[in-house]
């Protein structure tokens, strides 16, 4: 009996977007980072775009695929790096989900990106502290990491906005996220 897997349109969409996110994830991990675990987080741009265009569920899929497949490609599956990546992604998705339930709170991509970025960093910090370095000194790093998270978040949000403008062909940036759930 032949088993045929038929990919739905949605599957294809997810796959394409995930592939893009994975690609950016891999590129990013080649960048040297000033502090361990600090990456500009540009793969989150994809997550944001997906969230704004296709909804939270799709963003979840793409994000998780990015983390899992990205780690498999980089050889960090189940490693500390992987756990950090996963916790960051889950936390930022949680926050996006919460905002989604609250009908967006009037935030544009920039506000969303900043919140998602901070949630990401906090999630990573919690895992790093509880699982790897339960040392008081780590807290000295937290304000610095969060400062960077705000900055990179803002930049990601801005890029997201610009991309969305170009993609939709309109001149108005998409400010009202499109919430399917």
């Amino acid at each position: 009996m032949k088993i045929k897997l038929v990919a739905s349109k949605e599957d294809q969409l997810v796959a394409n977007l995930a592939a893009l996110a994975i690609g950016i994830h891999i590129l990013e991990s080649a960048l040297p980072s000033p502090l361990p675990g600090v990456k500009p987080g540009f793969a989150n741009i994809i997550t944001l775009i997906v969230f704004l265009l296709y909804g939270w569920r799709m963003a979840l899929w793409v994000s998780l695929l990015r983390v899992f497949v990205g780690s498999l490609v980089l050889g960090t599956f189940l490693s500390p790096t992987f756990l950090l990546s996963l916790s960051g992604a889950l936390c930022s998705l949680l926050v996006l989900g919460a905002i989604s339930c609250l009908s967006g709170l009037g935030l544009s991509a920039i506000g969303l990106a900043v919140l998602a970025s901070m949630a990401h960093m906090l999630g990573q910090f919690a895992v790093a502290y509880y699982l790897f370095i339960p040392h008081q000194a780590l807290f000295n790093l937290l304000p610095v990491l969060l400062s960077l998270a705000i900055v990179f978040g803002w930049v990601s949000g801005f890029i997201t906005q610009q991309l969305l403008v170009r993609m939709s062909g309109k001149h108005e940036p998409i400010n009202r996220p499109n919430y399917h759930n």
């Binding site: 709170l105 009037g106 935030l107 544009s108 920039i110 506000g111 900043v114 919140l115 901070m118 008081q136 000194a137 807290f139 000295n140 937290l142 304000p143 969060l146 400062s147 705000i150 803002w154 801005f158 906005q161 940036p173 400010n175």
Partner: protein
């Protein structure tokens, strides 16, 4: 580009982070401690912020360790040479002192560990 809500959120985020700076960075940076070993095994690890006198039982008898004003020294020891006592106060992270006959050694640990080993 940025909505009113964005600006509120960013202000709140920045405020939160500033608060963290003040709260977390005010804690004393040193966190210096002394690790006391007897016969190669760590018996005590004590912060140097609190003045303290500690009697440590070694191979020969009791070495009295004194912690004061962020420094530590051997106050008394059962060895004949008393070299450990003559060494005086230690206060730099990475430094160490031992009473060999009594097999008691002190290592200064801290966030600013200056040395990987001491030559003497």
């Amino acid at each position: 580009m940025m909505t009113w809500a964005d600006k509120v959120v960013i202000c709140m985020a920045v405020g939160f982070v500033l608060f963290l700076y003040v709260w977390l960075w005010q804690a004393p940076q040193e966190g210096d401690e002394v690790s006391i070993l007897v016969n190669g095994q760590q018996q005590y690890r004590i912060a140097l912020q609190q003045d303290k006198i500690l009697d440590v039982v070694g191979g020969l008898g009791i070495s009295r360790i004194e912690i004061k004003a962020g420094s530590v020294r051997f106050f008394s020891s059962p060895c004949s040479n008393k070299q450990c006592i003559h060494r005086g106060w230690l206060d730099q992270a990475g430094d160490f002192m031992a009473c060999l006959p009594n097999k008691v050694s002190l290592y200064l640990l801290g966030s600013n560990n200056h040395y990987d080993a001491i030559n003497f």
